[in-house]
Symmetry: C2
């Protein structure tokens, strides 16, 4: 199964549930790229329609791919080699299609329980049975993916169950946990 | 099983393998505190002997516990309620003892394979059998825990196995993954 990650900055929700475009966060790129390469993910898309934010992300990537960053830390350069920029989810899907030669199953993640979401047990079985050939996992920044994003996905995975009533992981932590779980599902 | 986390800033290694004291990173505190509360961990110690760095960490904690931060984001305030500052590992152990009324088993984590490290399979069995009543998990910042830290621990858990030759997770990601795995071991 090919695994791609999409970090969505628009349309996402703010704390008041309003539709916003969030800012690209430098450490998101680093942490998620490092986790992606550690778990052998096939690509990581930073999704934002903002030209300025795309430029910012592009400069960060260049620093590590072509600039002094990569000379100083080749491991980080390797992590950044997975990072791509996409204006929207459709562009990320096209990117996956060109890299994986197939259409990805589009799966959203959410910290909120969405009606009809795919349980982790069910997701585990489907990954184990190799039902998914290629997935693009969408993670929302800020307070999570807007309903528009959820609506266009093939499925939404249930929140990470942790046995408490607190569910406010950073998106960086959430990506790491999801990749670790998928890695286990594939091995079992 | 009570679970405590210690984020060690001294003595740790830099990229050249030298013994250093690393700087406290704001986002480490946020991400690890959020993961700790999500997974019901019992406390999170920021371990640094530097008075200036303790002061910095203390100001960040105050902002969220007593200042405007907590008013703006009560969820974050709840996460920060788990955070303590300790000058060294001994002080963190004493802190655990006073909070948990028992001595913790001191377990180090490492991205490097250490001779005699506890495999994840073995750790899983021991957690499942409730062999550990209370653990303090140490995570190293920078390029990881110095040998001195490893030597004083009761055990070192093997690196997070992810099936690739790349093993450069951020400490934020590593803590999230370890807490998620432990949560699963306890439930199974």
């Amino acid at each position: 199964m090919k695994v791609f990650i999409g970090l969505v900055h628009f349309p996402v929700l703010n704390r008041r549930g309003e539709r916003i475009c969030s800012a690209v966060t430098n450490l998101d790129i680093h942490d998620i790229a490092r986790a992606a390469v550690t778990y052998g993910a096939d690509g990581f898309f930073i999704i934002t329609p903002s030209a300025e934010q795309q430029d910012l992300a592009g400069r960060v990537i260049s620093h590590w791919m072509e600039g002094l960053g990569g000379q100083f830390n080749p491991d980080r350069k390797r992590a950044f080699s997975t990072v791509r920029i996409a204006a929207d989810i459709s562009e990320a899907v096209k990117g996956v299609e060109s890299m994986a030669c197939q259409q990805p199953v589009l799966l959203a993640t959410s910290a909120r329980k969405i009606a009809g979401c795919i349980s982790w047990e069910n997701f585990e079985k489907r990954v184990y049975k190799n039902e998914f050939k290629c997935i693009l996992l969408l993670f929302g920044t800020a307070s999570g993916l807007h309903q528009e994003c959820l609506d266009r996905c093939d499925g939404v995975i249930c929140p990470i169950c942790a046995g408490t009533d607190y569910n406010h992981l950073s998106v960086r932590s959430a990506v790491a946990i999801v990749l670790d779980r998928i890695s286990r599902f594939r091995r079992q």
